[in-house]
Structures are given as C-alpha cells and as structure tokens.
Amino acid sequence: MRTPCSDIQSRLSLLADGDLPPDQDAAIRAHLAECAECRGLVADLQQIRASARGLGPVTPPDHIWIEVAGQVRLGSAPAPLLPARTRPSNAAWQWVGLAAALVLIATGAYVFRGTTETPASIVQSAGNANEAGSVEAVTTELGLAMAHYEKAVAELERIAKTDDGTLDPVVAATLQRNIGVIDQAITESRTALTEAPASAPARDSLFAALRQKINVLQTTVLLINQIRQGDQEGAARVAAGAGKKS
C-alpha cells in the first residue's frame, strides 16, 4: 500500500535539497514513483530553489555611497534606524547655531582668480609625441573626473531638492548662498579652463570648487537625514564638522 501524501510532503524539500536522511530516502522515492502530484511538487520545489540561486546582486542607487562617504569623512556614528520618521519640533536656538556654523562653509570656498601659470604647470604638446599623448591622457582623465563630479553633484542636488521643509528656512537659505558662491567659482574656473585647457591651476581650482559643492550638498543631505530622524545633536555635529572641514 502506498504511503499517504500527507506523510511525506513535509520532507520533500529535504529531498529537493539532497538532504534527506538515507533511511527515509527509499520510502519517499517509492512513493514518488507512483504519485505524479508529489513528483510535480518536488519538481516545483527544485525549480523555485534553482531560480532563487539565480537571483543576483542589486545595484544600489549612487546617493547611498555619497551619503556613506560623507558620514565616514565627517566621522559621525551611524544613526540608528527609527520605527517611523517623525518630524522633530524646531528648537530655534539650535537652528541659529546651525546657520552660524554653516556660514563657515562659504568662506572656505576656493575661487579661481586667474592664477599665473608656471611653465611646468602647462603641458606643451607641439612637436613632442609623448607629450601630445599626455595631453590626450590628461584630457581623457579630466573628462572622466568631471563626469564623476557632475554625476555626484546631480545626485546630491536631486536628494537635497526632496527636502519638504525639514530644514529651517534660515539654514536652507545659508546652504543655498554657499552653493551660489561655489557655483560662481565653478563658472570662473570653467571659463579659465576653456581659455587654457592645459592649465593645471585652472583644472585644480575647478575640481576644488566641485569638491566644495559636493561637501555642501553632502552636508545638506546629512542634515536632512539627521533632522528627519529626530537627531538634533547629530545635526549640530554635522554642521560643526562641515564648518571645520571647509
């Protein structure tokens, strides 16, 4: 007489995994030889298992690394995840402190002022194949680096724009002013680089300005996160840290 299906079904996953104890194997296989439904079930369990093994990695959005890198750079401890994101009550004195700390960021922004180039800082290409190759390499590297910075800036700007009033208007305005100053520096550096594409000082000042912009945007995102998580002290630390770094 055949073993009832209900007696063996709880062990069919073990069979599908090849983990069935040898003393049970024969009885279950004998049942399967006669039972199409249970054979179908085992086949399905194996399909599900095989498909699950094929589920691959998932690429995380770029902003996660930007935020991780920002927090690592600022040396702040990770904020614990909260059950629900709650909007904290505004404490006016804390906002004043944040705004004051953030003003320091703008004063640290480096603005390109047409630095005089030294011969060594200019890559000459005429009449020298190796150096011509260097110019190409530098241009390529420059393009890649610019793409990297611009992608980071775009991603951070996208996140910063999602702020739905979490930031106090004074702090938001301060951050916006900082970005305005840095944008001006970026524009000036770009102009200089267009006029003298091989100018190392122009390139350096452009990258410095882009890094500054990323710093400010990272600070904005961190502030939004800290405040959304109700961590006013953390927000104050972020602002103070940003002021010191800039």
Binding site: L12, D44, A50, P57, P60, I64, V68, P83
Partner: protein, 191 residues
C-alpha cells in the same frame, strides 16, 4: 587567487581603510554593496534597504579594526549585514523564536492540489512572490535558497532549531509555489 593571498589582500585592504587611505573604503563598498543591497532588499524590502545599506557600511567602517582575516572580507561583511538585517526585522516586531516547527495544515493540504508550475520560474515573478511571505519565512528562504547558507548556520543566527529552519523553508517554498501558480494562471500561456 589562493586563500592565503586572498586573506593577505583583504587584510591589507582593511588596513588601508583603517588608515583612511583615499579610495580604500570606496573599493570595499564597490565590491560588496550590490550583493549586500540585494540581501537587504529581499530581507527587509527596498525602502528600508537603502537606509540599512548605509548602516551596514558605516558599522563596517567602525568595526574594521575587529576584522582579523579569518574569513574573506566579503564573508565578514555578509555576516555583519545579515545580523543587521535580522536586528532590523526584530525591531519591527518579528519574533523568530516563535516560529513553529510544524506546518500549517492548510498549506500541506493545498500542496499537492496546487498544480505544477509551468517551465522555468521567472526571477521577477519569484521576487514578486517573495514579497507575499511573512518576514520570518522570507528571511529563512533568502538565507538558504538565495544566499546558500545551511540550516545549522541559519538556526544559530535566528536562535531557532534546525528543524524549525527546515520546516519554515518548506513552508516558504509551498507559499511561493502557490503565489507563482496564481501569477501564471492570470497570464496567457505561451504557445
């Protein structure tokens, strides 16, 4: 790469991270984030996974001093990530210790009658079906079937018996079979 050279390379990378060498932690992130994000998405859902991935890497950065090279850095990070995912689920009220070794009668009764799944299981369908599982069942399915952990290891992490891990995995697969069969019945069959 041999195990010894891998261990040396991982320890050296961890040391560069501790010394804050530019690009070192970036390297760790780039190499491991996609796998860990996949794990987190499947364990806790996409929305919380983004926050959790940040927490995983910030915790890893803080604890890198504890990494001694006994296992691959990727394995060390995977364990850390798994524990954080499980802690997250516990903080959401999931009680692994209350999971039973016994299967619900209705699942067993339906198992044979559900009908076979036609052809290969589509990965997107499977991802969708996994969402329908309870968090505890899903965690065991992800750790065993997706990530390839053994029941003994899963049982230890969750504080349950091997038997409970096995029966909950079976339950998860039966539920997925039901859900996948349901998805397929609502779709035109290929000719």
């Amino acid at each position: 790469m041999t195990d010894a050279s891998r261990a040396h390379a991982d320890l050296e990378l961890a040391e560069r991270c501790r010394a804050q060498v530019p690009g070192a932690f970036d390297e760790v992130y780039r190499a491991n984030a996609p796998r860990l994000f996949g794990l987190a998405c499947r364990m806790v859902g996409r929305l919380d996974a983004e926050d959790l991935l940040q927490e995983i890497f910030l915790t890893a950065h803080r604890k890198l001093g504890l990494y001694k090279g006994e296992s691959a850095l990727a394995t060390w990070l995977f364990r850390l990530a798994t524990n954080l995912c499980l802690d997250h689920l516990r903080s959401r009220g999931v009680r692994f210790s209350q999971m039973s070794e016994h299967l619900d009668g209705d699942i067993e009764a339906n198992a044979a009658g559900t009908g076979a799944i036609l052809g290969v299981v589509d990965r997107l369908d499977l991802e969708r079906a996994m969402v329908t599982l309870t968090a505890g069942c899903r965690a065991i399915f992800v750790l065993h079937d997706v990530e390839g952990l053994e029941h003994k290891e899963i049982a230890k992490m969750l504080g349950i018996s091997d038997g409970t891990s096995k029966s909950q995995l079976h339950k998860a697969r039966l539920r997925l079979r039901e859900a996948l069969a349901g998805q397929q019945s609502g779709r035109p069959r290929p000719r």
